[in-house]
Symmetry: C2
């Protein structure tokens, strides 16, 4: 369902060219459970942004469900993003003036859901990440790990079939990060496709396949031994 | 040198009161190397902000080098912060329109250092965290782990004697986080006091003492067995 061929993303900085991605090839089937690892700066977030249709490559192709994403117009791309894909950002990207509940409800506004239903569905998503007692707090009234969990809840609230989580447990203690991984395990068991960037081997060991990037290319792509 | 007695920090949210810190007692001597751990929301960042003189408690006392910090006026407090304390924020807090180099040089502006010297000292700090080739990038042109390392470099550039690092390796792969810990080890060997919030046991094991918080109070305070 995800087919990436020779994907490149370059940035020109003055006389220098930075190859954030330098020819990535990847096939990801429906209902896969994959960890994306690699050193800081190796291109993981860049790849995630491309997979999430938040950015466009410099060259190469990305087919999502047999559609060449580069041939799709902006409105249709926005629709794919909102309906199909849930994205947890490495830097959370919460809106500072909205409460946790309003932040999580935002994707449901785009989905055209009525106010009562979306606040109820957002509340349920927040409870599923252990933040039932923090719904009215704004992001600056939350701890780092609580903001991270609001970002996770927001990515899941629209019940997307593809979940792209960029370091979803980086700010969490062991117990809380295992609770978040239990949540992802359940979503995987329900048939969804889960791609998690992590630098923690314990977290990666809970998935079924580990893809390692180095300097913008795939260095290894192996199933997890259970 | 750090003496905290019955420190409390409360937030009133409508009818509810949240006890972010609920009576913390702690003594930290010069040249200690301490890890602060605990579940998400247990009060670690709140305590770090109080120790870093970035916030004031609701009640209790904080003596830094025998000075009662609550009795100090704002100018003197700012001076203590800029000269004595290096702070790595959990959410980095970099200025988006400045390059990595300019961000790291900022504490030296407050220290009254001339432009040439501060850019040189900032460049050295960035090289020490492996970002010698990213100095002109702005924060949105850096990976998550690179931004984190800029935040570390900025905390160290003024050569403070107390380093407060709130999750300095949360976005880093193993190899890069060990390089950052080597840096902290060296600073400790030079006589400085290092307090690191971490949720990773491997990182905590590299320090000499682990303080665990739970629900805003100290649950345990133990030396590390080496
Ligand atoms: N401005 C605020 N208003 C209300 N509650 C707050 C505010 N700031 C923090 N809190 C609450 O205080 C508690 C402690 O927050 P703190 O940021 O110190 O936790 P932490 O231990 O650093 O957590 P994490 O590991 O997730 O970063 C949290 O439950 C948080 O929701
Ligand atoms: N807008 C940009 N302009 C120039 N270089 C960029 C830009 N965005 C990212 N880069 C560079 O591209 C490389 C890959 O960045 P990316 O964010 O994908 O890394 P990452 O693997 O997610 O790292 P981390 O683990 O630290 O989050 C980095 O070296 C970064 O400096
Ligand atoms: Mg990243
Ligand atoms: Mg914190």
């Amino acid at each position: 369902m995800i087919e990436v061929r020779d994907l490149k993303k370059l940035y020109r900085m003055g006389t220098e060219t930075i190859y954030a991605l330098n020819g990535v090839n990847l096939n990801i089937a429906r209902n896969e459970y994959l960890a994306l690892m690699g050193p800081s700066g190796s291109g993981k977030s860049t790849l995630m942004n491309l997979l999430g249709c938040l950015d466009t490559p410099t060259s190469g192709t990305y087919h999502l469900n047999h559609i060449d994403v580069s041939q799709v117009d902006d409105d249709e791309l926005a629709e794919i993003r909102n309906k199909e894909i849930g994205f947890v950002f490495q830097t959370f990207n919460l809106l500072p003036r909205l409460s946790a509940l309003e932040n999580v409800a935002l994707p449901l506004v785009y989905a055209g859901m009525g106010r009562h239903d979306r606040l109820e569905q957002a509340a349920e998503a927040l409870r599923s990440v252990g933040l039932g007692d923090r719904m009215d707090h704004r992001p600056n009234e939350l701890s780092g790990g609580q903001r991270q969990r609001v970002a996770v809840a927001r990515a899941l609230v629209n019940r997307p079939s593809i979940i792209l989580a960029d370091e979803p447990t980086g700010n969490l203690d062991s117990k809380t990060s295992y609770e978040i991984m239990d949540l992802f395990d359940n979503l995987h068991a329900q048939g969804n496709t889960i791609i998690i960037v992590t630098h923690e081997p314990d977290i990666a060991q809970r998935t079924l396949r580990i893809v390692k990037l180095i300097d913008g290319v795939v260095e290894s792509d192996e199933p997890v031994n259970h």
